[in-house]
Symmetry: C2
Subunit: 333 residues, 2 copies
């Protein structure tokens, strides 16, 4: 890094003290509007900026807002996450620095690096996408070091500061829909957070969970293709499916069309998440909308509530936000 002007030489240049300069940039007052303006103007001209690390060290304040999420897609971008990020970004005060950090469940080096970020003061607020062990570890850590954090997704270990949505109810709606459409035999294509989805789906369709056919899916289009293959070979009489996520559904539909299975005539397909693409596939995808962007927005609201209503030692505990699932009926059912 190039050497930059420091506060001392800048202050000397202006004939004021370093304290005054510092105050000009802060929001604590204790400075006349006139000198503040003078200093800000001079800073702009002379190119003075406070050193970030020094500033944080001095004030004992720290870092940026950080979004931690498990990286489960490796070949394709995770559209779910992309849209949540969109929601976060749009609602975050843009003076806040926002950092996006994927972590790999199975790579301890990466997970440790995330842990350390929380521990060493780089993160002043964390948004954590739930659903994996790693997420739990990070959330516990945030709790322990008492930084504001919010968890997206239900998590039995954390009952406060979460943004929740009801996978079970969403899947229930899907099951009910397929029943109403007169489908005879349904299957669930698994992926992520399957337990609740299966339960809801079976209930909605009016069968026991034990009767529900489950086909292994995954995360990403290709798993949808595989699942469709399995379906054809092992369960040719299935005429309705719920997929654990939209990508899976899109891959499945794609392959169905290739092998001459007509959607929705032969097979009704319901996705999960409602990513932006779902509206633009052909056939467009019926799906359970999780209101992804709203999920991100709510997380930010919760985080900011904690950061503001806060005695300096402990972040406030906030009530949870709840995001309603919706059934979006399009052409694939």
């Amino acid at each position: 890094m190039a050497k930059r002007m420091d506060i001392k030489t800048f202050a000397k240049e202006l004939g004021v003290s370093t304290a005054t300069v510092s105050r000009a940039f802060g929001s604590a007052g204790r400075i006349s509007e006139k000198t503040r303006e003078k200093i800000l103007k001079a800073a702009d001209e002379l190119g003075y900026y406070a050193n970030y690390n020094a500033s944080n060290l001095g004030s004992k304040k720290s870092g940026s807002i950080c979004f931690f999420y498990p990286e489960i897609y490796t070949e394709e971008p995770d559209y779910f996450v992309s849209e949540v990020i969109l929601g976060i970004n749009r609602n975050l005060d843009h003076r806040q620095v926002f950092k996006v950090t994927p972590f790999d469940e199975n790579d301890n080096r990466i997970l440790n690096s995330c842990k350390q970020q929380i521990l060493d003061g780089r993160v002043s607020g964390a948004i954590i996408l739930s659903g994996t062990k790693g997420a739990n570890i990070l959330a516990s850590l945030a709790e322990k070091v008492k930084i504001p954090y919010v968890i997206i997704g239900r998590n039995p270990k954390f009952t406060t500061n979460t943004v929740d949505y009801d996978n079970e109810h969403g899947a229930f709606l899907a099951g009910k829909l397929l029943k109403r459409l007169g489908r005879k035999k349904v299957a669930y294509i698994s992926g992520h957070l399957d337990k609740l989805k299966k339960r809801g789906f079976a209930k909605g369709f009016g069968i026991e969970m034990s009767e529900l056919i489950t086909v292994r899916g995954g995360a990403g289009f290709r798993y949808g293709i595989q699942a469709m293959e399995t379906l054809r070979k092992k369960y040719p009489d299935v005429d309705g499916v719920l997929c654990a996520n939209d990508n899976l559904a899109i891959g499945l539909i794609n392959h169905a069309q290739k092998i001459g299975v007509s959607i929705p005539k032969d097979l009704s397909v319901v996705g999960f998440d409602d990513i932006a693409f779902s509206k633009f596939c052909n056939p467009s995808l019926s799906t359970i909308s999780l209101n992804l962007k709203e999920l991100g927005s709510a997380a930010v609201r919760l985080l900011e509530k904690q950061m503001s209503g806060r005695d300096k030692s402990t972040p406030a505990k906030c009530e949870n936000e709840f995001i309603q699932c919706e059934l979006i009926i399009r052409e694939s059912t």
Copy 2:
């Protein structure tokens, strides 16, 4: 933040000096393997971590690798960017902290915040997605403060440390394809970085640029729908299009099908970028592949070359990387 153990008390606890503790975590040697191990073990047990800001301040080293990109999609996630990020993430040494920072061309507050991040030492290496004024500003800044940076995309103002790809040639391939398919009249649906694409497209199809019909598109599905409307109303005889990006193409195809235009019979559609989804639409999308992930990987390679082969005051100038465009023929042509 909760108060944590600092290096002094930790060192005292162990009966060593703070310097020794510091060395145990660093890589500069000057410490016996035995004491290092002892210290690392104790740190783990007692929960000691170096404070990030203090550490950076002391060493005059700074921050993280940062990816700056202009946020042009607001309603939908930017899939182009998502895939580039994937490429970056996969190739970055995971000890590096990676920060993703969208900026808004038109919001000076955000742009300033980015500038400040570069200036105040938070960023130790920048990857900048080119194509906008803001990108130029940030790149100039990086150049000025002498941090390693790489620019993705051609930029006449920066002739070194760039990862380049040839939009013009890609579009040329698209034009040639449509010609070969016997299409009579083509149009270009605009979006981003249009000039070179138009030139290449016209050349490939064998017409003058002035003869090329251009329909206003944008970024995002919805603009594809609009463009298809325009096409129908104003240019019903167009039988082949190149869209500036895949989203545009997908939206266009979607609407075409709704209004009874058969793809590719009535209209051949070529996209640009080759996002993951293009393979899974129906019809699947013929497109110019920019090898998005490879773009990210190359950027990291270049950045690391600068950071390693570096005398301490100035990052090395590195040769550019060049990523080949490819024509991917699928069902939409």
